[in-house]
């Protein structure tokens, strides 16, 4: 019954945040919540016996892996937020009154995400996903600026309207299971067991509608339009959480549903659909990156591109590609969160977004050498430099994609090259820009709490990229089997 601890922890933290008066203690609580949930997750990973203790939680390798990523990102974001939010409050961007709402929303978002990952019931999963949308919209609009409210409204409208379609998909799935076995069920595991005999028409409709909603959640192209603006306008701690954790929830849903579809007769059509969407996503994301003038939208588009790449891995559907999809998710979340944190430091330094909308960045290496260095390291990681994990997953997924057709890896590699050129084309001018002497902004010294998570995340991604942690391969293989992709690696 360890999983219950998550909920108890959440309630306790939320309660305490109501009572505490001082800002310092509220932020400490904000940090405590994800760190303890990370501890619980690691403990759970260590003791497989505890897993099926209660039927109320679905704990298996896949959900624990996603929970591990989520809690790492939330912990890093919370530590980062301690310094970042102070900066916002001192510079007057964030009113003292809405601080409490921020931390409350932050902890609630973590609680709801944990619930989403561990619920066995699809409908409950859908509600939690919907709640994450609402809560992250609240966090995006926390700065109470017209632009931030506009961005979060877009986020709400696009995501929740698409999520309604996925609820219709769930209803169709329920109906299909009911036709086959008389009593419909909403449990992931039951549906997976019944998947073989389900009626093809009903299952195909169910998947398509389900896919629409969760494509919006994870930023797949036709539904991605909210992502660049939401991530650009949100405070950096929030956009790191959005990119690192919430997108993974969308992908988690798609992985589970594709796992169910794996045994049905419809899987060929499903994988073609996923491949088409993946290629379009990567295409649009890479090409729009070439045109980006500002830092955070650029990083947001690279998240869309990586989500497209993950969708490609899922679409291929072989156990090897799933193994590398999970690996890619881990690597991408760490690097992307690190990038958003260093972007946050630059935002605090240069007071972005400025009135004119253009980024005015200058004397980069004089004012913020640390942030500039980590930004470049992050860009190198995104470009797939070998010591970082994205290179390995690029090799793994493209290798398994050659089974379908040789043109896919060719096109994907060209798109990755475009993305790399776009990143550097953005970085070079700001690297050399100079403010006329005397006019430059006052140097902003980022507190240690903002620098620490960046270093931790970069080192973590380096460790993932270079060395294979002892149990990691077995754990990931088991996760691949859990989500129904079975077969030999």
């Amino acid at each position: 019954m360890i999983a219950i601890l998550y909920l108890i922890l959440a309630c306790v933290i939320l309660l305490l945040q109501f009572i505490m008066r001082k800002h310092r203690s509220v932020s400490m609580l904000g940090v405590l919540h994800p760190v303890i949930s990370l501890g619980i997750t690691v403990y759970l990973i260590g003791t497989p016996a505890q897993w099926n203790a209660s039927s109320f939680f679905l704990i298996d390798h896949l959900s624990l892996f996603i929970m591990l990523i989520t809690s790492i990102i939330f912990a890093a974001a919370a530590i980062y937020a301690v310094g970042y939010i102070d900066g916002l409050v001192k510079s007057g961007d964030l009113e003292r009154r809405s601080l409490r709402i921020f931390y409350f929303g932050f902890s609630l978002l973590l609680a709801v995400t944990t619930m989403a990952i561990f619920t066995p019931n699809i409908a409950l999963f859908w509600i939690c996903a919907e709640l994450t949308t609402v809560l992250s919209a609240l966090l995006i609009a926390i700065l109470a600026l017209r632009a931030t409210i506009d961005a979060s409204l877009k986020y709400i409208f696009i995501c929740s309207t698409s999520m309604l379609f996925s609820f219709i998909g769930i209803i169709f799935l329920f109906e299909a299971v009911r036709n086959k076995t008389g009593a419909g069920s909403l449990e992931w595991t039951d549906i997976m067991r019944q998947a073989a005999g389900l009626e093809t028409g009903m299952v195909w409709i169910a998947f398509v509608f389900f896919f629409i909603g969760f494509a919006a959640k994870s930023g797949i192209v036709p539904f991605h339009t909210w992502l660049p603006e939401a991530h650009a306008k949100a405070p950096s701690a929030v956009s790191a959480v959005l990119s690192g954790a919430i997108l993974n929830i969308g992908m988690y849903g798609i992985i589970r549903m594709t796992g169910i579809m794996k045994d049905t007769a419809v899987f060929a059509q499903v994988s073609v659909l996923l491949l088409i969407f993946a290629m379009i996503t990567m295409g649009v994301a890479c090409l729009s990156m070439l045109r980006q003038k500002k830092l955070k939208p650029l990083i947001a588009f690279s998240s869309i591109e990586n989500m497209g790449f993950i969708l490609l891995g899922i679409g291929i559907g072989s156990p090897v590609s799933l193994f590398w999809v999970l690996f890619h998710m881990m690597g991408h979340s760490c690097i992307k969160a690190g990038l958003f944190f260093s972007a946050g430091i630059l935002h605090r330094q240069y007071k972005l977004p400025t009135r004119t909308g253009e980024d005015e960045i200058g004397d980069l290496f004089l004012l913020q050498p640390f942030a500039a260095g980590t930004l470049m390291a992050g860009f190198a990681a995104l470009m797939g430099m070998p010591l970082f994990p994205l290179f390995l997953s690029k090799v793994g997924i493209l290798l398994s994609s050659t089974a379908i057709s040789v043109w896919i890896p060719a096109l994907v590699l060209v798109l990755f090259a475009c993305a790399a050129v776009a990143l550097i084309r953005f970085y070079l001018p700001i690297m050399a820009a100079r403010f006329p002497s005397g006019e430059g902004p006052v140097p902003y010294t980022a507190p240690l709490s903002m620098k620490l998570p960046i270093v931790i995340l970069l080192l973590l991604s380096l460790m993932i990229g270079t060395v294979m942690i002892p149990g990691e391969e077995a754990f990931l293989t088991a996760a691949v089997i859990d989500c129904g992709f079975g077969g030999q690696i």
Partner: protein, 230 residues
């Protein structure tokens, strides 16, 4: 008794009426009767729920009908009406992409398209001419019409109303699956409450110009005065 064999015909009429209310939602310009059409639509859903309870003698549907009645027919419209009064905005005249007549034409086309496609996909259900099939067609097309409303209306409040009619579409579809409706109802209610709360606060900001925004916010004593612009 008479109720049971009359019920399927009764349900089909109500379903068609919900479609009509969706159409009204698209075309009405005045914010007040936008809310009123939403109330009518929710009420029709309550009637369908009652019809279904008569057909399948399942008490859960009664509970669903009651819940819908409380929340959708009275609760949320009252809340939106309250906000509208404060915003003193009556007309929503500006449209993007599609003017109301165009939107109506498109929605008819959509209903036809959904009908044909679902007929091809779910042949087995189509032959059985089951209520579930009709419910699914009506539900999906109502959701799509709601989406058109969200897409064509400029004002955020009317977008929220479009979204609410989409919720109704999902609920209409959900009613026809016996074991599921309570769960759906519960789901939809929670979601609606939170969503409406959040969006209405924000829409107050969006629709009114920036100066009033500050004092309007004060009025709701939610945020203090000096929101500095970075």
């Amino acid at each position: 008794m008479i109720l049971t064999e009359m019920a399927p015909a009764w349900i089909r009429i109500c379903l068609i009426l919900t479609l009509v209310s969706g159409g009204f939602l698209l075309s009405s310009r005045n914010l007040r009767n936008l809310v009123r059409t939403y109330q009518v639509q929710s009420f029709l859903l309550v009637l369908i729920a009652l019809g279904l309870t008569a057909l399948e003698q399942n008490m859960v549907l009664l509970l669903v009908a009651a819940l819908t009645l409380i929340s959708k027919v009275c609760g949320i419209p009252y809340c939106i009406g309250f906000i509208q009064k404060r915003m003193s905005l009556k007309q929503d005249l500006t449209f993007s992409y599609l003017r109301p007549p165009g939107a109506l034409m498109l929605s008819i086309l959509i209903i036809l398209l959904v009908y044909i496609c679902f007929a091809r996909i779910l042949e087995s259900l189509y032959e059985a001419n089951s209520l579930f099939f009709l419910g699914s067609v009506i539900g999906v097309s109502l959701v799509l019409m709601g989406l058109i409303a969200v897409c064509t209306r400029k004002m955020a409040i009317s977008k929220v109303l479009g979204y609410l009619s989409m919720e109704n579409g999902v609920l209409a579809f959900g009613l026809f699956v016996t074991e599921l409706p309570f769960f759906i109802e519960f789901v939809v209610i929670i979601d609606l409450i939170i969503l409406v709360l959040l969006t209405s606060i924000m829409t107050v900001g969006i629709d009114s110009s920036i100066e009033e925004y500050k004092d309007r916010m004060q009025e709701f004593h939610l945020w203090s005065e000096e929101g500095g612009i970075s």
